[in-house]
């Protein structure tokens, strides 16, 4: 079967902004798979883990139908992430995915992708890490991802998971970016639940990867100069090596910064603000945003206006946008699905010294517990909820 052969290549601009869309009622896993179908992916390599497996086994079917050129189940996550790094070096479009423990197992490799300047998309279907073993939704693993140099986008719902995945490939392969893009979504709440997703026709696909226009040459023996391997050996202890490693890391972070305009363009800004004039602002990412939307609705019924700032991009982090959006706020709460409060730390670090406001240290649920709207309201409107 030649699924991809029956598709028409369109520009990202047409795909994202102009192509007519139709609505489907599908799970988050299916939404990601539909994005992959339209993304002109060459190779996908992954190791199964709940809740990621749904998508990656569907991608296997896409391969069977001729939408991808290569696909296999790796021996484990270190093997999968290493192999996808090899494939990315050759200039083909690459996809991998994992969840909680799988991500932690492969973290050494994940943290080396940005330094090797490897465009690829890494889907993260968040799942609890730590002991006792659990498959439940808890996104503590994203706290680790924030330090790796990867671009990290956090999808709220099925629609976002479709849009961010498709956009991820384009952002990742931009010359001034040339970095891996992780697209995270909260497991089960989104991956295994249905929602409405508007998608362009499955007969359209993105243009293929053009490795010749990226920041770092492909390793294919067709790129001059042959002499320079792109993986610098700098394990000598001397000032040249310190300097090189420092410059390398600075450049990764600079590339993250240069991704901002592209993230803003394809995700419609790095944040979304509801009720910007409100004194109490909820700052959230992922499915905590959906819970917060409900809290806004309930508060409004009680006569209270709450504000909501949805963080779409965790790396690059929307620092200026957040400061602007919080300039009228007096009180901020940060609902999260993890015990460490990594988003809370980001918010505190960003707003420190910028405004005279109070940032609550929560609310947080973890271990897979859902976040009741009442809990958000208790934190957002303490008096009214008897807290």
């Amino acid at each position: 079967m030649d699924g991809a052969g029956n598709q028409r290549v369109v520009t990202p601009e047409y795909m994202f902004f102009e192509a007519p869309r139709t609505r489907s009622y599908i799970t988050g896993s299916e939404a990601a798979n539909e994005a992959v179908r339209r993304a002109n992916v060459d190779i996908a390599i992954a190791y199964p883990i709940t809740p990621q497996s749904e998508t990656m086994q569907q991608v296997g079917e896409l391969y069977g139908e001729g939408y991808l050129k290569d696909y296999y189940r790796a021996e484990d996550e270190v093997g999968a992430f290493s192999a996808i790094s090899g494939a990315s070096r050759t200039g083909v479009r690459c996809l991998t995915a994992s969840s909680g423990p799988g991500l932690m197992r492969g973290l050494e490799v994940i943290a080396s992708w940005p330094g090797h300047r490897l465009p690829l998309v890494f889907l993260i279907m968040c799942r609890a890490i730590n002991a006792p073993l659990s498959i439940q939704p808890d996104n503590l693993e994203l706290g680790y991802m924030l330090l790796t140099g990867n671009i990290v986008l956090h999808a709220e719902n099925q629609q976002d998971f479709f849009d961010y995945t498709l956009a991820g490939f384009v952002i990742s392969e931009k010359c001034e970016v040339t970095l891996p893009v992780a697209v995270a979504v909260d497991g089960f709440f989104v991956t295994h639940a249905r929602g409405w997703v508007e998608m362009p026709s499955a007969e359209l696909k993105l243009p293929g990867r053009d490795g010749y226009s990226e920041a770092v040459p492909m390793i294919d023996n067709e790129n001059p100069p042959i002499r320079i391997a792109r993986d610098a050996p700098i394990q000598k202890s001397n000032f040249i090596s310190y300097q090189m490693h420092a410059a390398w890391q600075q450049e990764v972070h600079a590339a993250q910064e240069r991704a901002r305009p592209w993230v803003a363009r394809y995700l419609d800004e790095l944040i979304e603000v509801t009720n910007p004039e409100a004194e109490t602002m909820i700052v959230a990412s992922g499915s905590a945003v959906s819970q917060s939307r409900e809290a806004l609705r309930r508060a409004e019924e009680m006569g209270t206006k709450l504000g909501l700032i949805k963080i779409k991009s965790l790396r690059p982090f929307p620092r200026e946008e957040l400061r602007q959006a919080c300039r009228n706020a007096k009180h901020i709460i940060v609902p999260e699905f993890n015990c460490a409060g990594w988003l809370n730390r980001e918010v505190r670090a960003t707003l420190y010294g910028c405004a005279d406001l109070h940032i609550a240290d929560g609310p947080r649920v973890f271990g897979g517990i859902t976040m009741p709207t009442e809990m958000i309201l208790e934190w957002a409107c303490p008096g009214k909820q008897g807290r």
Binding site: R89, T90, N221, I226, D231, P233
Partner: protein, 287 residues
């Protein structure tokens, strides 16, 4: 084609470093070189920072002469001594994390097959015994089970050379090295047997004591990996520092070890054997 990428626009040639000019004019690219040609062509590896008299460095130099098409070859290495030389060679070299060689090589090979369906691109892993048999064991074995078409070369110095001489799975039983204070408690891992079990198409064991055999073995291993299936070459490359072998006695040691326990061995699948014969009949590439 890749050879063109070596060339320099005519007006610029005189501004290139002498060494580069030499590579373009006298390198082994696009032609077969023989061991007896040494001295008449510019080698892929010349200078490197490995220890004086290191057998591994000597082997790598020879092995690079064995590559049938260096202009279409990519080397993959990892943490360990060998990458210090490999990263100086006039061939693209990929150096990722310790353990990842055979995963990375899998991705490289498959990616290159997608982009260049008409052009053979050879991928060769060269890593230490620790990199292959200990930390990288799983990826090595699985690349063999999956029948990935690339060559794996183990630089077996029977110790962790680069980190200062700790025990590896390939250290001989009873040997006293760092982290084996009572001598190693278990046998050298039988990677050759495991390769055979996994269905590796071409398997060879050797030492650098016979240089022309190094060249021909590598050539055969790469050719088999290109057309038939995975190939594995395990070479004794003594660490003269950790095993206290005087630099001028390194080859004597190799001969001795070859005689005692590291004799030349080839295990060739039927298909690989037939292929090598056909190549030899056509013009001696498989020599």
């Amino acid at each position: 084609m890749a050879l063109r990428t070596l060339q320099v626009a005519p007006g610029f040639m005189r501004f290139m470093p002498k060494e580069y000019q030499d590579l373009v004019e006298n390198g082994p690219f696009g032609r077969q070189v023989k061991l007896s040609d040494v001295g008449t062509f510019k080698e892929i590896l010349e200078e490197h920072p490995m220890c004086e008299g290191c057998a591994m460095a000597f082997f790598i130099r020879l092995a690079l002469m064995g590559l049938p098409n260096p202009e279409h070859t990519i080397m993959v290495g990892t943490a360990g001594c060998g990458r210090m030389a490999l990263s100086q060679a006039a061939i693209p070299f990929v150096y990722g994390n310790y353990c990842d060689t055979n995963g990375v090589a899998t991705g490289l090979k498959r990616g290159l097959a997608i982009r260049f369906p008409e052009q053979d691109k050879d991928v060769v892993v060269m890593a230490g015994d620790g990199g292959i048999a200990d930390i990288g064991f799983s990826q090595v074995m699985h690349s063999w089970f999956r029948k990935e078409k690339f060559t794996t070369v183990m630089l077996d110095n029977e110790v962790y050379g680069n980190t200062g001489g700790q025990e590896s799975g390939m250290t001989c039983r009873g040997t006293m090295v760092k982290m084996a204070p009572r001598g190693k408690q278990f046998d050298k891992i039988d990677m050759l047997g495991l390769a055979r079990t996994a269905g590796v198409a071409y398997i060879a064991r050797l030492t650098p004591a016979n240089p022309s055999r190094v060249v021909s073995t590598i050539r055969k291993a790469v050719l088999v990996a290109r057309k038939i299936g995975p190939s594995y070459v395990q070479v004794y490359t003594s660490c003269n520092i950790e095993y206290s072998i005087p630099a001028d006695k390194v080859l004597d040691d190799a001969r001795q070890v070859e005689k005692e326990r590291y004799g030349y061995l080839e295990i060739v699948s039927e298909e690989a054997g037939a292929y090598l014969e056909s190549v030899a009949a056509e013009g001696g590439e498989g020599r």
